[in-house]
Structures are given as structure tokens and as C-alpha cells.
Symmetry: C2
Subunit: 273 residues, 2 copies
């Protein structure tokens, strides 16, 4: 029995898997993140015990945080501040006495797509378009999956544009991220008018075009709440990119195979990396 | 005796090297590109024979062209059209009966920097800022140098901006490449006023910032005529990037170790790859 965990600012999801190969989530549990590390960890530990009917052989964790180089400590976690500086790996090890692997959530989801999703055997860019906009570039080198963060949300689409929470001005995320849309238009992505969506589509296409020229790939895979809930808009964006990109052929656009659960599959992929 | 060749739209440079390791160009010859393949090849062959006092053991060629997958044929060469579809590798092999390796010139120069220049043992982005703006991302994976083209010159810095020769609108190259500057300001880079340079610096910094967020590295190495002739301007650009980039630490900026000759060192690097 293996456990995959996806720790985000809003919820903590976990699932049990019987195998590391061709996995299928047996049961998924979703907890509300309280942003109080002790409480969150207690709830998580209880949920793991509930899922794990047999012995736990390994736990993989994708977490919305910057980890130290050894992937044992949480250095920075903007949306779950109380988790910063916590020794999550040790705490899980002490309790469950099994292999524990931590990874940044975006990298983790990309690895899930590379191992079990539509990215198998391919180079691709994995983009999470949700509250923020992040990504990972996945390259297959000698049959090994190699990842580099792609912070496309913090590219500048408007020089000296609107302020972004990261401290820069004119970031793609400030115009097209879920939080950015809410701030800019005073409503959530799903409530934008068609005209407002046209603006967001143009900006997002602009950002994608820059990704594809700076870091060329033949496949882009999307996840994240905005991408998953606005598939028609993503199709419109694809049309703009196909029309505007002239120096390369536009790549294939896909929605993540496991959609909202891709982080859980990524967490399981961590255990056999 | 090894020969390194750098074929560009304006000139063809070649040099002889006694060794593939710690190489030092013995003699450099520069020919004017006539853009007539038969004439150019004849001149090149004569110059190789002139350089090669002893037996030629290998010839490496960096060329301003898109090559086929096998790196034997020239598919596309915008600035030396008459070289397109020519079997350069075969032609050299027939004449010199030795190992011939062809590579795209930007990739070739980046390999030279990775093997003999300031990029040794490092991940870096190699940027050629000359007539156009191109680049290569170099990653060191398991001690192997791995390159991906980085077409930063064709990122969009101004959505629906001025037309670029590539067919897109608002490309960085259209504002900051040598040809772009000449078209936009009606004079060459070296004749721009200080105010005009401030504009170019801002644009170029914008483009670099996007490169660094989309494809993070700790080192950027510059070559190309504009970069080499405008070192003070490059310093100004570095200041802007350091000031504006907030999500990562700004990388180190360096000028290529072998500057104008880096393509020749890259050509020699091809022979021991």
C-alpha cells in the first residue's frame, strides 16, 4: 500500500494506491487546509491511517512550497506559512516508518504526467493555470525524466504594467491567474464576460507564445482550476497561438490525463523515481 | 591538424588547431561570403588546404542554417540561400577524407563556450546578440552537455507590435536586433543616441527577464556583434534586470571567452562530442 499526498493552500488531498506501476487511486480523501501545521499534520496522519488498511510501504508528497536541496525541509510556502521550516519528512518517517519522498507540487504533478499521463516518453511543458500560473519543463534524456521549473506566470507581458504580488510589474499571472483576474476584473474567472475573456485569452496566448519560443516543445499539457474549468477558452487560446506563432509549428495542447488528481499520481511517481 | 569553420551570411571564418583539447587557434582566415555555393565552397576548400600544413584529421563546421536531423544536409539558410539543399558534409568528405561534423552556428558556439569557455561545468544560456538575436540553453546532465535552442529574439515584447521578418509582430529582435535597430531608428546600433539606447536597453532587459523566468539559469553568456561592441550598454541592461527580476536572484552576466572566435572553438568542440 502506497500513499500519495497533494498539499495545497486550500486543501490537502490524499489517496491510497496498491502498486507504483499502472497505479489507480483506490480512495481519495480531501481535507481542508487549516494553515496550522500541528493541526494539519494531525488530520493528515489520521487520514493516512484511515486509508492504509495494510502496511504503508511508501508515502509521496507534492507540496505547494520551495523545499531545501535535500527535499526534507520546507523553506518557503506562501500559501501555507505555518508549514515553513517544518521537518515534514522526519515527522512522517517517525510515524509511518517507511520511505517518504517530498517534492514541489508543480514538479510533482509534471512527473505524474510524465510517468502515467499524456507525457509518457515525451518532452513537454506542464502548465498549471489556477490561482497562479506555474509550470515545469520536462525533457526526456537517455530515458530519464529531467525537470526544470518554468515560471511562465512571472514573465512580463506588459513592461511597467500592473503590480504583481511577487514584486514585479506586468507579470502574466497578474493579468491571467485566478487571483489576478479577481483583482483586475473584480470577479472570478467563471463570471467574466465574453469580452473580458477575449482580453485574458490574448494575454495568455502572448505568454504561451513566449514560452514556446524561449523553450521550444511539441507538447503542452495543462492542469489547474482555470484550465480545467475553461476548456473552451483554452481552445480559443490555442487558435490564437496557432495563428501568431510563425517561427515553429505550434505544439499539441492537451488537458492533463488525471486532471485534478494529477498531483496524487505525481506523488506516487516520486516513490519510483 | 583539425579545422574549425564558422559559416555566416557575411563571412566564412576558419582556423587550424593542433589538438582537440585545450585548443588554440593557430591561424584564422576570413573569407567574404559570396552566397554562391560553388564559389564559396571552392574558396573554402582552398583556404582549408592553405591552413592544413599536415594531414587534416577532422573538420567541424558551424553554419547559420537549419540542418536535417542527421546533420548532413542544409535545409534552410535565410542569409545564404544558395547553400540550401547542398550536401556540404559529403562535399567536404569527398575532398578531405576525414571526419566532418556540421552543426547550427548558435548551437555550435554554445558548445564551444561549454567546452572551452566560461560555461565549463555549468548550466547557462548562450545569447548571440548581433544582426538578429538567438540563443541556446545549455544544461549539464550527468556530465553530458545537452542543448536546446532558445529563440528569445522571437518572443513578443509588444503584443501586436511592429512586424518582424519572421512573420510575427512585436518580436524582441524587431526592436533590438542589429537589423531591427537599423530599420526602426534608421541608423546602426553604434550611432544610436543615448536616449535611443535607453529604449533598446529597456526592451532587451524585458526580453532577458522573460528568458530567466521561463528558463531559469544562474549564468548568461553573450556573444554577437552588438553585445561585443556595446559592453557598457550590456552593463546597463544587467542593472535593469537585477532591479526588475524579483522571483529569482539575477544570474551572472559574462561576455564569451573567445568573443568573435567562439564559433571556431565550437566547431572544434563538435569533433570531440
Amino acid at each position: 500500500m502506497y500513499i500519495g499526498i497533494d498539499v495545497g493552500g486550500t486543501s490537502i488531498k490524499l489517496a491510497s494506491f496498491k502498486t507504483l506501476y499502472l497505479p489507480k487511486a483506490v480512495k481519495v480523501i480531501e481535507l481542508k487546509t487549516q494553515n496550522n501545521y500541528e493541526n494539519d499534520f494531525d488530520n493528515l496522519a489520521k487520514a493516512i491511517s484511515e486509508l492504509a488498511k495494510s502496511k504503508v510501504s511508501g508515502i509521496g508528497v507534492g507540496i505547494a512550497a520551495v523545499l531545501d536541496e535535500d527535499k526534507t525541509q520546507i523553506l518557503k510556502a506562501n500559501n501555507i506559512k505555518s508549514w515553513e521550516k517544518q521537518a515534514l519528512k522526519n515527522d512522517l518517517e517517525n510515524l509511518f516508518k517507511c520511505k517518504i519522498v517530498l517534492e514541489n507540487d508543480a514538479t510533482c504533478a509534471a512527473l505524474g504526467e510524465a510517468k502515467f499521463g499524456y507525457g509518457q516518453g515525451k518532452d513537454f511543458i506542464f502548465i498549471i493555470w489556477g490561482t497562479g500560473i506555474g509550470g515545469t519543463c520536462v525533457r526526456l534524456i537517455n530515458n530519464q525524466v529531467y525537470t526544470v521549473p518554468c515560471e511562465l506566470g512571472h514573465q512580463i507581458v506588459q513592461w511597467q504594467g500592473i503590480f504583481d504580488n511577487c514584486g514585479q510589474h506586468g507579470c502574466l499571472e497578474a493579468y491571467c491567474g485566478g487571483n489576478g483576474i479577481a483583482r483586475l476584473y473584480g470577479k472570478s474567472a467563471k463570471n467574466l464576460s465574453e469580452n473580458e475573456w477575449r482580453e485574458v485569452e490574448q494575454r495568455f496566448a502572448h505568454g504561451l507564445l513566449n514560452v514556446l519560443t524561449i523553450n521550444p516543445v511539441n507538447l503542452v499539457i495543462f492542469a489547474g482550476s482555470v484550465a480545467l474549468n475553461q476548456k473552451k477558452k483554452l481552445e480559443n487560446i490555442e487558435v490564437i497561438v496557432r495563428h501568431k506563432l510563425k517561427i515553429f509549428q505550434a505544439p499539441q495542447f492537451l488537458i492533463s490525463k488525471y486532471q485534478n488528481d494529477i498531483g496524487l499520481y505525481g506523488a506516487i511517481a516520486l516513490l519510483s523515481r
